[in-house]
Homo-oligomer: 562 residues x 2
Amino acid sequence: MAAKFLPATTLRLTPFSTLRFSSFFHISKPLFRPLRRPFFEGFPANARRRCFCTAVSESTGSGEGKKVDNSYENRFGSKVGEFRRKLKIAEVKGGADQGLGRVGQSLSIMGWVRTLRSQSSVTFIEINDGSCLSNLQCVMNPDAEGYHQVESGSVLTGASISVQGTIVASQGTKQKVELKVDKIIVVGKCDSSYPIQKKRVSREFLRTKAHLRPRTNTFGAVARVRNALAYATHKFFQESGFVWVASPIITASDCEGAGEQFCVTTLIPSSHETTDSSIDAIPKTKGGLVDWSQDFFGKPAFLTVSGQLNGETYATALSDVYMFGPTFRAENSNTSRHLAEFWMIEPELAFADLNDDMACATAYLQYVVKYVLDNCKEDMEFFDTWIDKGIIHRLSEVVEKEFLQLGYTDAIELLLKANKKFEFPVKWGLDLQSEHERYITEEAFGGRPVIIRDYPKEIKAFYMRENDDGKTVAAMDMLVPRIGELIGGSQREERLEVLEARLDELKLDKESYWWYLDLRRYGSVPHAGFGLGFERLVQFATGIDNIRDVIPFPRSPGSADF
Amino acid sequence: MAAKFLPATTLRLTPFSTLRFSSFFHISKPLFRPLRRPFFEGFPANARRRCFCTAVSESTGSGEGKKVDNSYENRFGSKVGEFRRKLKIAEVKGGADQGLGRVGQSLSIMGWVRTLRSQSSVTFIEINDGSCLSNLQCVMNPDAEGYHQVESGSVLTGASISVQGTIVASQGTKQKVELKVDKIIVVGKCDSSYPIQKKRVSREFLRTKAHLRPRTNTFGAVARVRNALAYATHKFFQESGFVWVASPIITASDCEGAGEQFCVTTLIPSSHETTDSSIDAIPKTKGGLVDWSQDFFGKPAFLTVSGQLNGETYATALSDVYMFGPTFRAENSNTSRHLAEFWMIEPELAFADLNDDMACATAYLQYVVKYVLDNCKEDMEFFDTWIDKGIIHRLSEVVEKEFLQLGYTDAIELLLKANKKFEFPVKWGLDLQSEHERYITEEAFGGRPVIIRDYPKEIKAFYMRENDDGKTVAAMDMLVPRIGELIGGSQREERLEVLEARLDELKLDKESYWWYLDLRRYGSVPHAGFGLGFERLVQFATGIDNIRDVIPFPRSPGSADF
């Protein structure tokens, strides 16, 4: 029943490096006839393989309408094929039985060679497709079809291959099943200069190979856990009735507040083709200032540092919203904790106070951590073994233990009584430093997340709600072991007069805040929210110590490559 | 059993505009004792209300550790309350029985007043909380607690209120149930200057009130449908085994390709505080050029126009990935179809060809459209009635009908034979214009989405895979009624030599593409992907004709406010 394919004689390159993809696919409709496309001999039709397209019409690309029917659909169009989920290694080996249920099944897998070991009569190939940490071990005898590619040295670490065979119980102890290969095709060879060889390379080195590092165990696992955290974030908020809102990235609004921001402009080159920009070409006023009126937005525009103020406009219409998007800091901090570009999760809850805010932050963190523990078991075991021993236990405690809260005033008292020397001073009115935060969560509370609340208003932002004591605001920081502050939030000042007085006090221009104040003018409500740096969360969940290793393409001073 | 609360005597403002939020909440633990916080008289404990925090410890903020136990947890910490989903109008009225199952239930709802009608003995208040299009009708007699606020004129359109009462069957025909109010509290009054009154206002006007427009029917519905499309996007790809990858927003990579880009810099003001920038303050070289070496990234950096090239690096490691993030165009297009900042969905499939790509795009679009039809019924009926008659039928056809594909060559033939005058010429080798695309999908194929494939290589990007004819590339555009091109994709050129030859042909600098070429050097695989402007999708699903009305804060030439 196997459809027969012809060799790819029209291809320009060596056959094995340029195989047409279609040749790997099982064609389920026996009537399928390739017209213009030559194919390699295919796999038998009963093999389990990725198979998106079940129908390719005869008229595709032929330009000839052979039927007399006058409708365009019949004269010109042909159907689009069916989309099917690709069979991946995670699916083959990932079940509770680690694949034993598939023993005897014939299937094919496509991926990249991690290692190849040839013994006298048998060759072992470890193949990985990125769907999970572990490879599929492929066992091949010299009589397997395509074995000459092994002999000729085409099957090297990094090469992409397609293997077809039968799942058998493995005799090794590292896996329950393996693939007994009937046929191998090298899809793409790997040049010997491939920098990701089996020997371990440093994470610093891999940062210079950001385009290849996801092919390593560590960065593959980070990518999967990061993905799980992102999806769990959406799930948590969607299931709780929150609406995702896209806060703007570019903003010319004056009320973005402090912090070093990136300027977004078209006054200097607007493409790579003209980066030799003469200073004289920049539009200027008579006074020698940059003439912003000629810029794209007609005034200076910046990359956002937070979507919160915008988010409040939607929270006071839709009740509960969350932002999840990139934010930016132009701070010249070349540390393992800072990025110039990072993703932020910022929920905003209407009709909510600080207690609700803390409850939501706690429930959120427990949900996403549990999701990762449940759904990324293998990756988490990898981190526990190789990156951060004990991380699974630590995260399990986050899920199981109740979070504690204490007032800033209490926290200061606790620190003053601590039998420990701190580098930075501890005094009511001063902000807590990382060493203080970590002492509280790691030592004083034995690894339990702790929320500090009610900070002095002088060290917090203008929009935080003033407490009745007149000295503190309804702010909260959630501290977690290893990271320190993971989440920062507050109840927002919803009282127009109090907010205006605070703006005056801080000598901020009320006019620029007109729309933010409008929210207090028209049906104001108590509301609260928090912010969470997504990369900090990925660090927390993986134990990776440098933040540049938990985002695909990190941006920092002097570095925006790829 | 009701917990008793005290009046908020310490509040600075009028009691009704500054109610402490906690007063609206049912406290489930009888031992709860407010310490520092005064409260209004609360609602009875059997009322159903939002109730996140079930426990507030005695020691909260008191600073006094009364217990002798020495552990910090007991001396300082108290537990964080439990997070619960807020009861919203959508939940009350949204079920199949439209709320009839809740008749007799006592509950409370918080939201914003849409309208108020007072008759002699009864007052009707329509309240909306953004969870759904429809309001909850509240019926109140003069003996309801807080009725004096109605009499004094505090309950105006736009005011935020909390109402508590019993769900009863409605005598009106517009809804099955309504709330018989026992108690009303005005949470935040609404100034009479409120611009969103009942009379209809233009969408142009509302663009100047972007902070308030989500409180209207149209923009509330757009926000909910937009949210549903975003979540359905994540669900579709996650369920299909794709990994979400954050492609970088700022990029100094030279291979971003053509198109007007925004420059990201700290050479000119890096905060709003110093926007009076002297031209002389910009670092320059001896030759009078901008000295990029002194910029944040040490060279010119830009906002991304697409995450595709970066995405390919992850697809060739993890097999299937998708990007969903903001992208930017500095084009001076002040049209209803263009934004300077918009969100893009860009999946990338390894071991896939153009047929797989089309199949995936089709399945994706059908999935998200079906999700919206299933989950946003009321909003879609609103759009069908008020914005775009027939849209539900049109979208249902998208879900049910098979999509068709035809070659570009066939499309040209079809257009040449069409009994229609086009403004732009139709000729093999020229790109299809919007009028051509809409003719094909709307007229020739009667409203069915159509995919055009195999375009002349001269009008497509360098990375698209060359077909065997040497003239066309494996590109595809999906055309849909009303919008024209919704999705554009291609199989990527995976053959190193062919790609290098193409770069040479186009006089592009191969050196800048070193990492992109590496993907073809080390285990290259056939791969394909597509891009979809998210706002175009929201337009397609809502019928809203101006793209600035389907993103919360649109950015266009001269406009980056809020």
